[in-house]
């Protein structure tokens, strides 16, 4: 991690800082607009535009205890783990073993993560260690306690850390998410023929996909969100529309016809116009998603069979994403960003059984998703990455294994998966897990000071998605405060194969 030279303030740096401070987000927006035009122009000149890339953001709400996702199997780390985790320690013999290429063979995943371990060992999954929200690099506990380095506001608070993970700009009021900024940047260049938003959420409106121009579109595990009142759940317009799409001459059909006519009125009142646009857009997108589902069904992949062991909330979301990717031609988009999420990770109590269930849901969901993408033959075109509020305290909050849990921590280990991943490796840096040690953020609970920032983590992903170096700081405005994750070897963040 870059150490700041606090005693040196050059004229250039001062002017740059002052300019950034004055411009603030307005500057960011303008820069983003310009970069978007450059990117659009550059891509318009490139041949084909036939490549396709899908980015899948998986958010684990509540704060995943990744201290019990990536677990030392043996060695000194194991001894520290065993001693400090107390009743939350998971026996070595139970771990799903992984065999990283770039680390000692002393690691395992949570026992419920056999599917993820299989993906790791086959080179399709990697773990980035100790990632978290940072405004500036923090070298160690001493620097943390000194007060000399600005900290992300409201550390240890759920919603603040969730938003900061999704904005990547913890030291500014939230305005947009980095997924939304990515979409704004690439949409014009790659999705000129798109018939649906490139930003699709499986779990409602989220902060990650909020942009200036691209509006996120929400679907659910069954596909598009339809108007209610015109038919049963499995065929929402059965009572109002004929198979050819024409209106049935009945009460429901006439009601839908009149409703859509009203929604097609234009309004001088901005709010009225915006409302009708939402409805019109939703109906248009609904048709596109329906076509995508038809294409997915014709893809030759039996998604129900692939996800047979992942019939969970997360599994259902990932299955729909896989189907939307299978039907990508219907969307006309060459770049898509998906957002899915699950909650329940705030395991203050009864952690061992609850976290085991969560890890099972995670592992089976990821395995099925990767299997489906592999079956579609586009493994190199899809990248999934995981986020969470924070990891949890290394030390438990009680002495009873049946009731104890862990509390809010900070830096945690993140999973990335897909063909582009340099799999079977551990990236970043494992923290010194001694409570009260150099990486503990005050006290002795084991709250790791992140060694990799969200900006660094996200920028590697952004590069894969098509963000060039000139545009990177418009997506991650604080990135320059940290070591370049690509060029600085000591950052150990080459988790994507860009070749």
């Amino acid at each position: 991690m870059r150490q700041r030279d606090k005693d040196h303030l050059s004229r250039r740096n001062f002017l740059r800082s002052a300019a950034c401070a004055q411009l603030g987000y307005a500057g960011l927006v303008n820069a983003l607009s310009q970069m978007r035009l450059f990117t659009a122009a550059a891509n318009a000149q490139s041949s084909g535009l036939t490549d396709y890339k899908a980015l899948v953001c998986l958010f684990l709400f509540g704060g995943n205890d990744s201290n019990n996702l990536l677990i030392p199997f043996s060695g000194a780390q194991r001894t520290t783990y065993q001693n400090a985790r107390g009743v939350l320690a998971i026996p070595s013999s139970d771990l799903a073993r992984i065999h990283p290429n770039n680390e000692s063979d002393t690691w395992g995943l949570h026992p419920s993560c056999t599917g993820m371990a299989s993906l790791f060992n086959s080179g399709k999954l990697a773990v980035i260690q100790n990632v978290g929200t940072l405004t500036y690099p923090i070298a160690d506990r001493t620097e943390y306690l000194s007060g000399n380095v600005p900290l992300p506001p409201q550390l240890f608070s759920h919603s603040d850390q969730q938003i900061q993970w999704q904005s990547s700009v913890p030291d500014k009021p939230y305005e947009t998410g980095w997924g939304g900024r990515l979409a704004d940047l690439v949409n014009a260049g790659y999705n000129a023929d798109g018939t649906v938003s490139m930003s699709i959420s499986l779990t409602g409106i989220n902060s990650f996909q909020v942009g200036r121009e691209v509006i996120q579109y929400v679907v659910d595990k069954n596909g598009a969100t339809s108007l209610w009142g015109y038919g049963p759940a499995d065929n929402r317009y059965q009572n109002a529309l004929n198979p050819d799409g024409s209106y049935i001459n009945n009460w429901a059909g006439n009601r839908l016809r009149r409703y859509e006519e009203i929604m097609n009125f234009s309004h001088t009142n901005l709010q009225e116009e915006a409302y009708t646009q939402v409805i019109r857009r939703a109906r248009d997108y609904e048709g596109t998603v329906g076509s995508a589902m038809t294409q997915a069904d014709a893809s030759g992949v039996d998604f129900d069979a692939v996800f047979a062991n992942a019939q969970t909330n997360l599994g259902d979301q990932l299955k729909m994403i896989a189907r939307l990717i299978a039907g990508r031609e219907a969307s006309g988009n060459r770049r898509q960003v998906f957002f899915c999420s699950v909650g329940g990770y705030d395991t203050h109590a009864t952690q061992l059984p609850n976290h085991a269930n969560l890890m099972d849901e995670l592992s089976t969901g990821l395995k099925a998703f990767q299997d489906s993408i592999d079956a579609l033959g586009i493994a190199d075109n899809v990248l999934l990455f995981e986020c969470s509020d924070f990891t949890r305290t290394f030390t438990p909050n009680g002495n009873d294994a049946n009731s104890s849990g862990s509390d809010h921590g900070w830096g945690g280990h993140k999973v990335v998966m897909g063909g582009p991943v340099n799999g079977k490796n551990l990236f970043g840096h494992h923290p010194n897990t001694s409570p009260g040690g150099n990486d503990d953020a005050g006290g002795t609970r084991g709250r790791w000071i992140p060694s990799t920032s969200v900006d660094q983590y996200g920028s590697v992903i952004g590069k894969w998605f098509g963000v060039d170096s000139n545009s990177m700081e418009t997506i991650f405005p604080n990135l320059g405060r940290f070591d370049d994750p690509i060029s600085v070897a000591s950052a150990n963040l080459n988790f994507i194969n860009f070749a």
Partner: protein
């Protein structure tokens, strides 16, 4: 004047102006609030707390010495501070240390602090008091005290903040030697930061074990 000095001056002058404005506003607020603030024992003075047992546990354990007079000065001058030194984010990666001003007692501390953990009040009333204290803190700072652990949050409530604002006296008998706020059964309250303006607080209840059936809480909002 070299470039570094110019740069530092350029940063320092607006901040100094802001500090003057904030300082004036705060002084004005203090002046306006002073007449209505009930009296509370100043540091190093004997408490005027009524002669009541400090905690229900003290009632039930006659061998315990009932603390009616808070210790003089800080609860524990050797208390390990686990929160970062207070500083102002200058917005350029640098910070400016904050010297904590003399304590300013918020009205909430005067009005209700004596009721905390008292036998003639309910455990729910204790939690309501803590929420009131947090509300008072938030009214001043527009966010919760820093931290996720009991002692971090209590440090903020007891005056370790940029204004020296005390909403909970640091020498309150319910604060232990580690700086943790204890419930009436002697167990540290569990603070759960949900957002910058929401903090769930839980008492472990008579069995001293969190997350069991006898826990006392006003609002728990786990994901």
């Amino acid at each position: 004047m070299d470039d570094q000095t110019k740069a530092r001056l350029a940063l320092a002058l607006p901040l100094a102006a802001m500090a003057v404005v904030i300082g004036f506003g705060w002084s004005h607020l203090k002046e306006k609030s002073a007449p209505v603030a009930p009296s509370l024992p100043a540091k190093n003075q004997e408490s005027s707390l009524p002669e009541k047992p400090a905690r229900l546990a003290d009632l039930e354990s006659p061998e315990k010495t009932i603390t009616q007079t808070p210790p003089k000065g800080d609860a524990n001058p050797d208390l390990e501070i686990i929160t970062p030194e207070l500083s102002i984010d200058l917005g350029n990666g640098e910070t400016k240390p904050i010297e904590i001003p003399e304590p300013t007692y918020a009205p909430i501390a005067h009005a209700s602090v004596e009721t905390l953990n008292q036998a003639d009040h309910s455990p729910e009333a204790d939690l309501a008091f803590i929420q009131d204290a947090l509300n008072t803190y938030r009214a001043a700072f527009h966010e919760n005290p820093f931290g996720g652990e009991n002692e971090e949050i209590v440090a903020g409530l007891t005056g370790r903040n940029a204004r020296g604002l005390v909403v909970l006296p640091p020498d309150h008998p319910a604060i232990n030697q580690r700086g943790q706020l204890l419930d009436r059964w002697g167990t540290p309250y569990f603070f759960h930061p949900v957002s910058r303006d929401e903090m769930d607080v839980t008492s472990a209840g008579p069995d001293h074990q969190l997350f069991t059936g006898d826990d006392v809480r006003l609002d728990l909002n786990f994901e």
